[in-house]
Structures are given as structure tokens and as C-alpha cells.
């Protein structure tokens, strides 16, 4: 699968299929800090991403010194 890490300007290719929660753990990301997007849909932590699919992991954390 192809994982687009938005705002980090990078993509990673992973072999095999995975549940979203396992994927985030592997990438070292907190589920609370991102949205996982496939096309026009949001994925929940129990959904499985197939090997041929592309997903975007979009950070939701924003802000400066406020």
C-alpha cells in the first residue's frame, strides 16, 4: 500500500494489508493526532487497508505559541 504522509512531504510503500490501528502504530502516530483518508472517505481504526490501495494520513494538530 502507498501511504501519503501529508505535511511531512513523504510517502511510504508497505507490503501487505493492515488494519488502520496497526498501521498507525507502525508509523509511530497517535490516532488522536491524525485522520486516515481513503479517497473521499474517513477510515476508522478497525478498517483494513488493502495492499493495492493508497491512503492519506493527515495531521490534525495545528498551532504556534498561543
Amino acid at each position: 500500500m502507498r501511504v501519503i504522509l501529508r505535511n511531512q512531504g513523504k510517502e511510504v510503500e508497505l507490503a501487505g494489508r493492515r488494519r488502520v490501528k496497526d498501521l498507525l502504530r507502525e508509523l509511530g502516530l497517535f490516532p488522536e493526532a491524525v485522520l486516515v483518508i481513503r479517497g473521499k472517505e474517513l477510515l476508522t481504526s478497525d478498517q483494513v487497508v488493502g495492499e493495492e490501495e493508497t491512503i492519506e494520513v493527515r495531521p490534525v494538530v495545528s498551532g504556534g505559541a498561543r
Binding site: N7, A33, T44, G64, A65
Partner: protein
């Protein structure tokens, strides 16, 4: 995972609510939470004009969207910070959002008011960028609201923002900041308008999900000056806690409001006077915004003289003569 309302497939799980929602039910839940917060905290009514401070990001555009959908009289205010392509892109998002909905948007350039853009202020005065930015936002949102006849300014600060700010204040035991942090700051002086945060109970992930599901074209990229910001470290720590104990962030902030803030508020007694330059309330002889503008001028960066710009229906001549809000300043 199934939606707790309709039992259809869920698109978002909210662990702290022990719930999951389909898109339609989440959007309804989100709107209801926002409207309930506005009502319960007496933030504003549908009869009052509200100035929404918009940045082009997910939170402020989601807030403006909800307010318009729910029938509030909401006008946008975009402050152009002059941060290169980032400001151009975020301003374009706000203008497109307003145009699609037929909503009114005021645009004010910080450079016209301060004498320099936010990156130039750093160059000219050495004042940290985020500090100059925060000061300008507080001052100008208040001033434009006063001048344009808005009794209240609404901002898109969410639960994560508030919890991170609180954590920072607690780590430094800053009593003034702890006294001031509230979802509603009343207009405690004729020179201040009310400031409200209708999303203070809603997490950052929820506002992002709302914006995404509503198809709002917000700026996902972060301000280039926010890299390495301490508030982001606080948010990471809080998200680690949230991962371990869902609801930790909300409990941290709401119990502060219930149990601790009243005590700090009693300690906080500030004497305000009129700024000698702009006439707005301040604790000093000259308010922090005017002091910074003077430093910019001394450093040779003054570009003021251009009136406050409004792209809607403002007569620039009406925008003069009112000044500062520096309640968040020492």
C-alpha cells in the same frame, strides 16, 4: 465499527465519548454540540452580529460554517499576517469560502496597522514571531470588532488548544494566564468586546473531521513559523495521555474551569487605563501593540498610513481612532 445512532458503517470513532458515527450523524452531533455550548455559556444569540476570526485553517472555517448553517449572523475577519505564500494560500481559502456561501469577509493587513508584516517585525525588532503574531491578532480582532459594531469575536480555539495552553500555564504557574483562560471573556471595559470559543469542548480531530466531511477546502499546511513551537510539544504529551486514558484532555480543562479558575480569577485584579497613543484599554501608559509599532518605526520599517482594508462594505474612514486590547499581556 457501527454508528451509534443509525447502526450504519461508522467513519469516525470518538473514544472519549465511547461512540462512533456515520458522516451524517457526526455532522449533526458536531453542530448540536457547538450550538449547545454557545447557548449554555451565553456566548451570543442569533440576533447579535458575530465577528469570526478566520485563518483559512480547519477550526475557524468549520466554526464559520456551523454558525452560518445554524442561522447566526456571522461575518468573517481575516488578518493578513504577510507570511509569504502561506498567507496568500490561507487568504484565498477564506475568500473562496465566503464567496461560495455569500458571506461577508473583512480583510485587514497587519502590515498596514503595525508598519510591517509579521516576518518583518521579527527582523526589525527581534520580538519572537509567534508573540508578535498573537499580540497583533488579539489587538486587531478587538479593534475591528469595536469599529464595525460587533459586540463579540468568536475564535476557533478547540479543546486541544485550550488544554495545551492550560498545560503551559500550569507548568509555569502563571496566575494571570490561569485567571484569564476562559471560553468566554466578557467585555469588561467599553474598549473590549466579548471573546468566545464555541469549540472549546470539541477536539482538534473532530474539527478536522467536520471540515473534511463538509468538503471545506482548508489549508492543511502549517504556518512555517510554528515548527518546533512549544505548544505542539504540549499537544503531543496530551495526546499520549489521551491514548492511555480517553477523555483525559477534556477532564483536564473542564475540571480546571470548575474547580481552579475561580480561585485564580479572584486573585486577578488589573487596573486599566487608556493607551496614550490609541486610547484603548491597557495596563501600561502605552499599549503593547503601539509599543511594538513604535519599535518597528524606529527600526525604519513603518509602512502604516494605509487605512484598514475591508473587502466588503467598509468605509475605511470609519475604521480610524480606536485601539488596543491587550488583556493577555503582562
Amino acid at each position: 465499527m457501527k454508528c451509534i445512532k443509525c447502526r450504519g458503517p461508522a467513519v469516525l470513532e470518538l473514544r472519549r465519548h465511547n461512540a462512533a458515527f456515520c458522516a451524517e450523524d457526526f455532522l449533526a452531533f458536531f453542530r448540536k454540540q457547538t450550538v449547545e455550548t454557545i447557548r449554555k455559556w451565553k456566548m451570543f444569540t442569533r440576533e447579535e452580529p458575530v465577528l469570526v476570526a478566520v485563518s483559512g485553517g480547519k477550526d475557524s472555517l468549520a466554526l464559520w460554517d456551523v454558525l452560518l448553517l445554524e442561522g447566526y449572523d456571522a461575518t468573517g475577519l481575516y488578518l493578513d499576517l504577510g507570511i509569504y505564500d502561506y498567507s496568500k494560500a490561507s487568504r484565498a481559502r477564506c475568500e473562496a469560502f465566503a464567496a461560495e456561501r455569500g458571506a461577508k469577509l473583512h480583510v485587514v493587513a497587519v502590515a498596514d496597522e503595525m508598519g510591517a508584516s509579521i516576518p518583518e517585525v521579527k527582523e526589525l525588532t527581534r520580538r519572537p514571531t509567534c508573540s508578535a503574531c498573537g499580540l497583533s491578532k488579539r489587538y486587531l480582532t478587538n479593534r475591528v470588532a469595536l469599529e464595525q459594531g460587533f459586540p463579540v469575536v468568536a475564535t476557533g480555539h478547540n479543546l486541544d488548544d485550550e488544554a495545551a495552553t492550560l498545560l503551559g500555564s500550569v507548568l509555569h504557574w502563571a496566575p494571570e494566564a490561569l485567571a484569564r483562560q476562559s471560553p468566554v471573556l466578557p467585555a469588561s471595559h467599553p474598549g473590549f468586546v466579548r471573546r468566545v470559543k464555541p469549540f472549546f469542548r470539541i477536539s482538534e480531530r473532530e474539527t478536522a473531521a467536520y471540515a473534511f466531511l463538509r468538503g471545506i477546502d482548508y489549508i492543511v499546511e502549517e504556518c512555517p513559523f510554528s515548527r518546533g513551537a512549544t505548544s505542539l510539544v504540549y499537544k503531543e504529551v496530551l495526546n499520549r495521555l489521551e491514548e492511555h486514558s480517553p477523555g483525559a484532555k477534556a477532564a483536564f480543562f473542564t475540571t480546571f474551569l470548575q474547580r481552579a479558575r475561580p480561585a485564580f480569577e479572584r486573585l486577578e485584579e488589573v487596573e486599566l487605563r487608556d493607551c496614550a497613543r490609541c486610547g484603548q484599554p491597557t495596563t501600561a501608559e502605552v499599549c503593547a501593540f503601539c509599543r511594538l509599532a513604535e519599535r518597528v518605526k524606529r527600526a525604519g520599517g513603518d509602512r502604516t498610513g494605509t487605512p484598514v482594508r475591508s473587502e466588503a462594505e467598509t468605509d475605511p474612514s470609519e475604521l480610524r481612532g480606536l485601539g488596543a486590547a491587550e488583556r493577555a499581556l503582562p
